[in-house]
């Protein structure tokens, strides 16, 4: 067990390894809405619909899209916090969906999650010292010296101080709480962190501090990130690759560089136009009409057709599939060529 805590130090610096840490294949999660009378058999909500991606060690993959597009469900299904209906998830080549709860718990040490609302994620009745000790207790680390030293190390990494250990969550500001949430996630030396809108609830001046902290962890510790956000600016800054989701499907996936240099899907274009430069006097903001409806609306064709500014006849009939149109750049749109 000790090896797990010491592993990974230094060897990962600045390098993204080639073999995937995480491989997700054709992941699917449907929710069955209840009918008005409470019985099952209502509408089916395709939260995650046939999603595949890989994540290498030390790499950050951004999952972007509007609320309800399935980005959080995808991340939770990967960690088996919700059970996927179909598909495969391989972590370091291990088929995760076949593991029993005991094995899964052991593996979870290496994969952690940080949440949007850090106050809701921390137990209000426990002191910071207890909150940070808990991961060690759960995973049977009884060596008090080691625990103390580890906690001191966590504080240092996340920019917290020793005298804050005796305090309760309500005594901290949002940014500090997020640091505590990150410290707890780091306790067992994870290789993969799911960050679910980690800076969305924070003040503008604090957001940058937390993004910088996460960047340091990625660079120095070689931790891989599945980074969920609706903020295209933060994603461009932090992520190596980006997957854009719309109604349960990935509609575009590329390296951040390629995606931001040349977005191909009309939905990606719309998302990017929504965060224009503050300094340009002339502004090109194209307002996309309509709202993302649930997936039951369109029986066939592209899910984006109702809001798409460049829709053609074929989009109503044939659902586009994700195709690689440039090295490492895939798009699901008939009109992207």
């Amino acid at each position: 067990m000790g090896a797990l805590f010491r592993g990974g130090k230094g060897s990962m610096k600045n390098s993204i390894s080639e073999t995937p840490l995480l491989e997700v294949k054709r992941l699917q999660k449907y929710f069955h809405a209840k009918q008005n009378n409470g019985a099952r058999g209502g509408e089916i909500l395709k939260a995650v619909d046939d999603i595949s991606f890989t994540l290498r060690a030390g790499e950050a993959l951004g999952l972007v899209g509007e609320s309800g597009c399935g980005k959080s469900t995808t991340a939770r299904a990967v960690l088996r916090l919700v059970e996927p209906d179909a598909g495969d998830v391989f972590y370091k080549g291990i088929d995760m969906l076949k593991l029993c709860p005991e094995e899964m718990r052991f593996l979870r040490k290496e994969m952690q999650i940080i949440f949007q609302d850090p106050l809701a994620a921390l137990n209000p009745k426990r002191r910071i010292r207890d909150i940070l000790s808990e991961p060690f207790i759960i995973h049977g680390v009884t060596d008090m010296d080691f625990r103390q030293k580890s906690i001191a190390g966590l504080l240092q990494k996340t920019g917290l101080s020793e005298d804050q250990l005796a305090r309760f969550p309500h005594e901290f500001s949002g940014g500090q709480l997020q640091r505590i949430g990150i410290a707890r996630a780091l306790a067992l030396n994870p290789r993969l962190i799911v960050a679910d809108e980690p800076v969305s609830a924070l003040d503008v001046s604090i957001q940058a501090q937390i993004v910088n902290l996460l960047s340091d962890l990625k660079e120095n510790e070689g931790i891989a990130f599945l980074f969920i956000s609706h903020d295209m600016g933060v994603v461009e800054h932090f992520c190596d690759r980006v997957a854009v989701m719309y109604l349960g499907k990935i509609v575009e996936m590329a390296t951040a560089q390629s995606l931001y240099a040349k977005p191909r899907h009309p939905y990606t274009l719309a998302l990017m136009a929504a965060v224009p430069s503050l300094r340009d006097e002339v502004q090109v903001q194209k307002v996309i009409t309509g709202e993302a409806m649930d997936t039951t609306v369109f029986a066939k064709g592209c899910a984006f057709q109702a809001r798409c500014p460049i829709k053609e006849k074929q989009c109503e009939d044939i659902s586009p599939t994700l195709k690689e149109i440039a090295p490492g750049h895939s798009v699901a749109c008939h009109l992207s060529e």
Binding site: E66, A274, E291
Partner: protein, 327 residues
Amino acid sequence: MHSDELQVKNLKVAFSSPQGDLIAVNGISFQIEKGETLALVGESGCGKTVSALSILRLIPEPPGKVLGGEIFLSDRDLLRLSPKEMRDLRGNDIAMIFQDPLASLNPVLTIGEQIIETLLRHTKISRSEATKRTEELLRRVEIPSPSQKMKNYPHQLSGGMRQRVMIAMALSCSPKILIADEPTTALDVLIQLQILDLLKQLKEETGMSILLITHDLGVVRAVAQRVLVMYAGDIVEVSPMHALMKTPLHPYTQGLIESLPSQSASKNRARLPAIPGVVPSLGQRPGGCPFHPRCAKVESRCREKFPELKELEPGRWARCFVAERGR
């Protein structure tokens, strides 16, 4: 002064606590011109919402209290009106929309019923007329099939649609001023654009003024003409919007813009230029310039003296010794 719709002078608001009065708004003055969209920008706890609520006299007393100041709407000082006069004024002259429309709507009444109720309360029209007007209002805020949507309850609508309902309700009595407190913060980016676009369009049509409260400079960029930046209860910068975005005068405004990852100057840098430290809480306002512990350009006098808000360029004001000297 006659083109000013609303004038706030030396408004000072405090909240009482066991530690004594905590100043939330520290004697601010500003005016909203007719037909103008003025943005009030700052981080949580800077006093922007408290300022707006004070205009409508909606600060809960106690613990809150307005310590001083004047708020003029035409010739009337709102702080001296009776509760009855104030009730008539709210909705008629000044209307407000909030961040969370679901919390502002009654969950057990249909949205149609709620707008009809507003109309009957404020105008002398019959119920059937009010119903017709409601349908018109919903159409005006671009809610599809309004006659059906009127029969919906708030929970049956999406966040964007609910905010449209709130806007329809706010517009029902043709107010002179609309106060919008973080109207799009809870919405998705694309829906946010739609709502901002709608506000802009309605402002053009009606000629009303908008006081927009937000922490999001992108929102400011999209709709505002003039901007007030607040920090720790003070106005630290006042400027026309484009000038503010291009050459912010106050180091705090500079920091806010620079720390946004989407802004070109900081693109492709390994680290974002973050503002260090945290926003001071109400009881812990630092002496001198309240921003000095976090300021990159701090000098010795910033620690001792509280700078004044000075006009450094025509129409542009900043509360900063360093910015003053740069002129």
